[in-house]
């Protein structure tokens, strides 16, 4: 697999991030730097702010304080460039119940570009028999697989994936590990949250523990 994005080195950096949920401080003064070819695993107990941190890094949530930089530029000031660089798979799967699995991916591709083959991506995720099934017939694990298939449609230097292992079986987990590995070896970077032990010890893995 060739790195399809022209990747010199990229850098995701957060400075002095602070987030509140209601009146509760989730984290403050959070600093992190992630370079090409690195994985950041965010862990911590339920409610520690993992999803909030990922949404902040993706630019969906504005931090109370601090700033997220992509290649040295604040992400809120060059949204378009950051959107080009980012593949985000959130906590919610974003799979429309009324569309078939394949239609879901085709629409996503229209929105984000990319020249990956949707059928190929779904076959890779083990959904070859569900291609033409509507979203509402999928199990939770299959839905997650379909959501993760989006990662294969468009090469992007940065992946932010919230709980990629949730609801996946053993093969699914291994598959996600494999995708992450390929992304990192191609010079990309990955931010993910997980309660589980991540079997990626062969990769440059940074750990961030929230709520301790």
């Amino acid at each position: 697999m060739t790195p399809a994005f022209s990747a010199p080195s990229h850098c995701l950096r957060a400075e002095g991030l602070e987030a509140l949920r209601g009146e509760v401080m989730l984290f403050e003064g959070l600093e992190l730097t992630l370079n090409s070819g690195q994985v950041l695993q965010v862990d911590g107990p339920n409610g520690a702010g993992k999803t909030t941190l990922l949404r902040t890094l993706a630019g969906l949530t504005l931090p109370e304080a601090g700033e997220v930089y992509w290649d040295g530029e604040p992400i809120r000031r060059n949204r378009a460039a950051y959107a080009e660089a980012l593949n985000y798979v959130g906590h919610q799967h974003g799979i429309k119940a009324g569309l078939t699995v394949l239609e879901n991916l085709q629409v996503y591709q229209k929105l984000t570009g990319g020249n990956g083959d949707p059928v190929e991506a779904l076959v890779r995720m083990g959904l070859e028999r569900q291609l033409h099934n509507p979203g509402y017939t999928l199990s939770a694990g299959q839905r997650r697989r379909a959501a993760l298939a989006r990662l294969l449609l468009r090469p992007a230097p940065l992946w932010i994936i919230d709980e990629p292992y949730t609801a996946l079986d053993v093969h699914g987990v291994a598959l996600v590990d494999q995708l992450v590995r390929e992304q990192v070896l191609a010079g990309g970077m990955v931010v993910l949250t997980s309660h589980q032990r991540v079997e990626l010890s062969d990769l440059p893995l940074l750990r961030l523990r929230l709520g301790s």
Binding site: L60, T61, L62, G90, G98, L111, G113, R150, R154
Partner: protein, 227 residues
Amino acid sequence: MNQPAMLPAFFGLLRRDLLLAYRARGETINPLVFFVLVASLFPLATSAEPNLLRTLAPGVIWVTALLATLLSMDQLFRGDYEDGALEQLVLSPQPLALMALAKIVAHWLVTGLPLTIVAPLLAMFLQLPGEAYGALMLSLLCGTPVLSAIGSIGAALTVSLRRGGILLSLLILPLYIPVLIFAASAVDAAAHGLPVTGQLLLLAALAVGALTLAPLATAAALRISLD
């Protein structure tokens, strides 16, 4: 870099929404059913006196069309919000306002346009004089896109609230009033054989303005709602 083109994205999202609307036909025709039911109850509830109905007709048809649109507005972004598709939209490299416009156009195609098409039927129930049919259709054709466009701002602002329906109505109903006044007055004037060009041009101007500006406001509101 593989910069995704804007037009395929626009039509991709438009087609997606139309497809979803088609597959959920039962729900999609709700506003239309409401429109027909309510407007056809008026002759029963008031009187079959043609002169009275003729006086009421422009107002009844327009108020009902407005409420039918309002009822459907809450659903505009709700589904996408709940399943996470909205996050994907916001994070896609497309201008969010353009995506909002695609959703507005899709909404109009499945609510405003059908309302416009069945309106002559209701006009017949309500004894509207023949010469006012053209003005009625044109006023709906220009007015309903304004309703969809302005409604999308309210829908975007209230999408993250669990019970946003009432708030949505309170927010956008006042903004619908100008459309209601000009449109009903156009139909009324036509029924009396008066010229209606002024009102229709104003409605058309409102439509152009709303379709240009509302997507920008909707995009900003969506970002706030997702925060």
